[in-house]
């Protein structure tokens, strides 16, 4: 049985797989699917710690709620914090963590075990594969592809209190297990190869690889090779 806050609203046609919790003034749209063992509207750290040890029947009372659009799929064992917004058609895998003040744009997919660790901005129609880590301050524009287990950082001199965010511009492709270090911008339509460690800005439409990542080509030649490969494979 789902626990749904009296302050929350749930649109028509939305289904809950089984047990889950919707806290605070969460607004959930129509025709959503919410998997088992999910929490929506989890209080952020400061709020939870402030109330720890005080009389408190449950987290519902201190939650500001999340905003979940229409036609959203949130698979099992996922946690969405208060003040997060998932726009229409967002789809997640299992074991996903989306923390406070994060926005995920329309029809974006967030793979299993991925973490949007608070104050993250993700555009629309972005494809985030499994196990991706986006720390606070990360900006991912529309139609970006983030391969499995991409790690983004935000601290140039850890541990420090200054967030130096990474920006991945529209249409860029980041290969599996690449690392994007704090402060870099990956330009529009650029391609970063699997396993690369990106330590400086990547020019738009360039293709980089290696540790540290160096330019080895451009998007046009990448797409030409891809086209030949696909023609060969699919014929």
């Amino acid at each position: 049985m789902p626990y749904i806050s009296k302050r929350a609203s749930v649109g028509s046609g939305t289904k809950f797989e089984s047990e889950c919790a919707i806290y605070g003034e969460s607004v959930i749209g129509e025709r959503c699917f919410i998997g088992s063992f999910c929490t929506i509207g989890h209080p952020r750290r400061a709020s939870l710690l402030e109330h720890k040890g005080k009389p408190l029947s449950n987290l519902d009372e201190i939650s500001g709620g999340s905003r979940i659009g229409n036609d959203v799929v949130l698979r099992s064992h996922s946690v969405v914090y208060e003040l997060a917004t998932l726009e229409d058609g967002v789809e997640t895998g299992h074991f996903v963590l989306i923390r406070e003040e994060t926005k995920v744009g329309k029809r974006t997919r967030v793979g299993s075990y991925s973490v949007l660790d608070g104050k993250v901005s993700v555009g629309s129609q972005v494809s985030i594969q499994s196990g991706v880590y986006l720390p606070p301050g990360s900006v991912v524009e529309d139609e970006v592809f983030l391969g499995p287990f991409v790690t983004v950082t935000n601290d140039l001199y850890p541990p420090s209190p200054v967030v130096t965010g990474v920006k991945v511009e529209r249409g860029a492709v980041i290969g599996a297990r690449a690392i994007l270090l704090a402060g870099v911008t990956v330009g529009r339509e650029a391609v970063v190869a699997a396993g690369a460690v990106v330590t400086r800005d990547v020019e738009p439409e360039s293709f980089v690889m290696g540790v540290p990542a160096r330019k080895v080509g451009d998007r046009r030649s990448y797409e030409e090779k891809k086209k030949r490969f696909l023609q060969n494979e699919l014929r």
Copy 2:
């Protein structure tokens, strides 16, 4: 209390830790242990999306079920999709995700947080450590060892619709956090060092390391060093 589909069958001596869900025509063998907050027979993506927004009491109705052998241990917070098969004696950690049309052979162990992301074939007596990622098309033969956080890929030109699977042949050893890029074959009894990035085929019984991985020795010398080390440590 576990939810068990009326269409499912559960063998004698099988225990459920507490809450979990068994969907569809799942067949669970004898003497299994199923941890808390697990789902068995979760519908695959196409099926879930097709039914979203339609009248549907729960996922049970649309699940084709999983096949779980005898003496299987599935620890808590794990999800097994429909049309997956776990043979006798398979043992998983916690937070494991095994998606549709995946086969896991006898007495294989799948570590916590590992993902078999659909259409994966894993042999018997394989040791998969924590956090390993195997995408669709991956083939892992018998008695392979996959160290913690090994990542396998399957897309040569991401994002593309063509799956180019990796094959890890019998008895190979893949060190922690190695990456195996789409299409490579790691030969029988080969050893890949921790942190290596494998960009081309690895010969049987060879030992490779580095980024990109290069041959630096063979299995025989690896085993000789290992033997001397163990004799020294265990004496």
Copy 3:
């Protein structure tokens, strides 16, 4: 509703978010917060396998219990094994796994998806970010910082039965996604850059980077650069 063993004790002011399980002779201190879908006192592997298939009402009967101090926060979907000790003020993220015979010191934070995989010793005021892996035999001293997705190994010749632990000495800083190979010691106050692969001991107060990691500076110059950077950013 939490399941709390009759053998367990729970201090005053401790709150349970909703469903969870406290097994065996667990002792939980005062003013703790235990999130949904957590298990405390999970039996270790040998114990679970020994009892599989035998009459057993639940895991409670075979659990030796965990020790949880005062003011501990354990967020949702986390699992703590029997014979683990979390001292006062420990705080975890979500999806955390802390296995048997592990000690976590006072006010240490363990990020979401991190694994302390049994027989791990972590000091006080340590900061463990998300997705960190510490295998058996790992020793992390006080005030260490482990960045996101740091992987530590413990097997020089996998797969072998000999544990060769890593030691991270007091005040060291390990950058995101670094790998520390079995047997290395990272000296007091040393800094390891993000993405580095540490294959040999790191001198105290040195700064290393790269694959394999090489010394490129020292802690003093790192702190001087950091200070200038922060002065610039925060002014």
